[in-house]
């Protein structure tokens, strides 16, 4: 069974709730090695998204993802805006005008998202960024079989592991890179928010 525009909207509402719930955690993580605004920026972006989804819910998954992109780009105000914005934009392009997403399209959307983040931020695996969470998630989703829920669940598990792997890393991109060696020993806030979003999507898909 596929995943309709309404299902994607439901997943995004769940993600918005998770972002809200983890706002303080993301702020704390960003305080340690960045500019302490990631939690608040993500909350602002997803709050704006909720009201736009209420106002005019798009009728295809691709259009929903595009609305996420434009909303985050214009409201987030930190690095996460352009990065997640580009990610959702490329994910939207990857699914085209399909009426429903299947396992394969979800994997392709994630692949598009990763390509977008890399194109925008020029980070590679090991730089202590969201790329460290998203890259294994893409691989896991691509090898998952069956349902959308299975693909997203595999992606979320891999993203969790990928995010944890950023703890010992020395940051080579973003504000944390100015700290050099002192950035080691901290979880990257962008990798953490990526893992949180994927987990929220996976949980929503499992309930659908």
């Amino acid at each position: 069974m596929g995943c309709t525009a309404a299902d994607v909207v439901t997943a995004l509402r769940a993600a918005a709730a998770v972002v809200q719930e983890h706002r303080d955690e993301l702020v704390r993580l960003d305080q340690a090695i960045g500019d302490a605004d990631h939690g608040e920026n993500m909350k602002r972006g997803f709050t704006a998204l909720l009201s736009r989804l209420d106002a005019e819910p798009p009728d295809t998954p691709g259009k929903v993802l595009k609305l996420v992109a434009t909303t985050l780009i214009s409201t987030v105000g930190g690095a996460a805006g352009p990065l997640y914005g580009t990610a959702f934009l490329r994910a939207s392009a990857a699914v085209g005008d399909a009426a429903e997403l299947d396992c394969d399209l979800v994997a392709r959307a994630l692949q598009g998202a990763l390509e977008g983040v890399v194109a925008r931020g020029k980070a590679v695996v090991g730089d202590k960024t969201m790329v460290d969470a998203l890259t294994p998630a893409v691989t896991a989703a691509a090898s998952a079989q069956g349902s959308v829920a299975a693909a997203l669940s595999a992606a979320a598990d891999a993203a969790d592991e990928g995010a944890s792997s950023t703890v010992p890393m020395v940051a080579r991109k973003g504000r944390a890179s100015y700290l050099g060696e002192r950035s080691a020993g901290h979880l990257d806030p962008g990798a953490r928010s990526t893992a949180l979003l994927l987990r929220a999507f996976a949980d929503a898909a499992a309930k659908a």
């Binding site: 780009i73 214009s74 105000g77 690095a79 805006g81 352009p82 990065l83 914005g85 925008r120 931020g121």
Partner: protein, 235 residues
């Protein structure tokens, strides 16, 4: 370049996380370039630290009078926001996001734009600006030996000498002409097209500089610089 573009200059947009920083950089750059549109974009729309995509998009359009826009940024996410804004433009080729030191780059770009340099040249001026001492070893050591070179000793009659504004005036004067000009003070030499290099000479008032010019307008360049100095750079 078309005839219509003769009057339009490359604009600048300064994207910073801080509104105060963006305003300050724009103020400093604009002082050197009265006819260049230098637009600051800083902070979020709520007045906090960050970058606001919509404001950057708007500034790009506002700063473009037909010759394109060079965009300078302070930190990584300002760069990403600037790049997104450029990609979303109808014609992204009219905008160049430069990897340059913010203050020196903005000043160098503003002076180049004031001299009606092309988009590529204004971008290059920004990227070539460095926080290090801008005076290079003589770039054309034998310039004064070139048969057609015109040179003159020029007394700096103004009190402060070749500081920022006079240096900008001098660079602008040279930029309008078809001439390669170097300015020497002591053992150092600066390309007169570079305001930062001129400032780096630290030539004080009451001292003389040597101006050496080549090219079609060499004589005119030297004459205009002499005039500028006689007027005390309008200080």
């Amino acid at each position: 370049m078309t005839a219509a573009a003769d009057t339009s200059r490359v604009g600048l947009v300064v994207v910073s996380h801080s509104e105060m920083l963006a305003n300050g950089v724009a103020e400093l750059a604009a002082q050197m370039a009265p006819d260049v549109s230098v637009l600051p974009v800083g902070g979020t729309d709520e007045g906090g630290l960050g970058t606001d995509y919509a404001s950057v998009v708007e500034a790009l359009a506002d700063a473009d009078s037909g010759a394109g826009v060079v965009v300078l940024y302070d930190l990584g996410s300002a760069k990403m926001t600037a790049e997104m804004a450029v990609e979303s433009a109808d014609d992204p080729s009219r905008y160049v996001v430069v990897d340059a030191p913010l203050v020196e780059g903005a000043v160098a770009a503003a002076v180049a734009a004031q001299g009606a340099a092309s988009l590529a040249d204004v971008a290059a001026a920004a990227e070539g600006a460095s926080g290090e001492a801008p005076v290079a070893a003589p770039s054309r050591p034998a310039l004064h030996l070139v048969p057609d070179a015109v040179s003159a000793e020029v007394l700096l009659t103004n009190e402060v000498g070749l500081h920022a504004r006079p240096a900008a005036l001098l660079a602008r004067t040279v930029a309008e002409l078809d001439a390669d000009v170097v300015v020497r003070y002591g053992n150092e030499e600066a390309n007169a097209a570079s305001v930062l290099a001129l400032m780096g000479l630290s030539a004080p008032g009451g001292k003389s500089i040597t101006v050496v010019a080549t090219g079609k307008d060499a004589g005119e360049a030297v004459r205009r610089i002499e005039e500028l100095a006689e007027r005390g750079f309008d200080d």
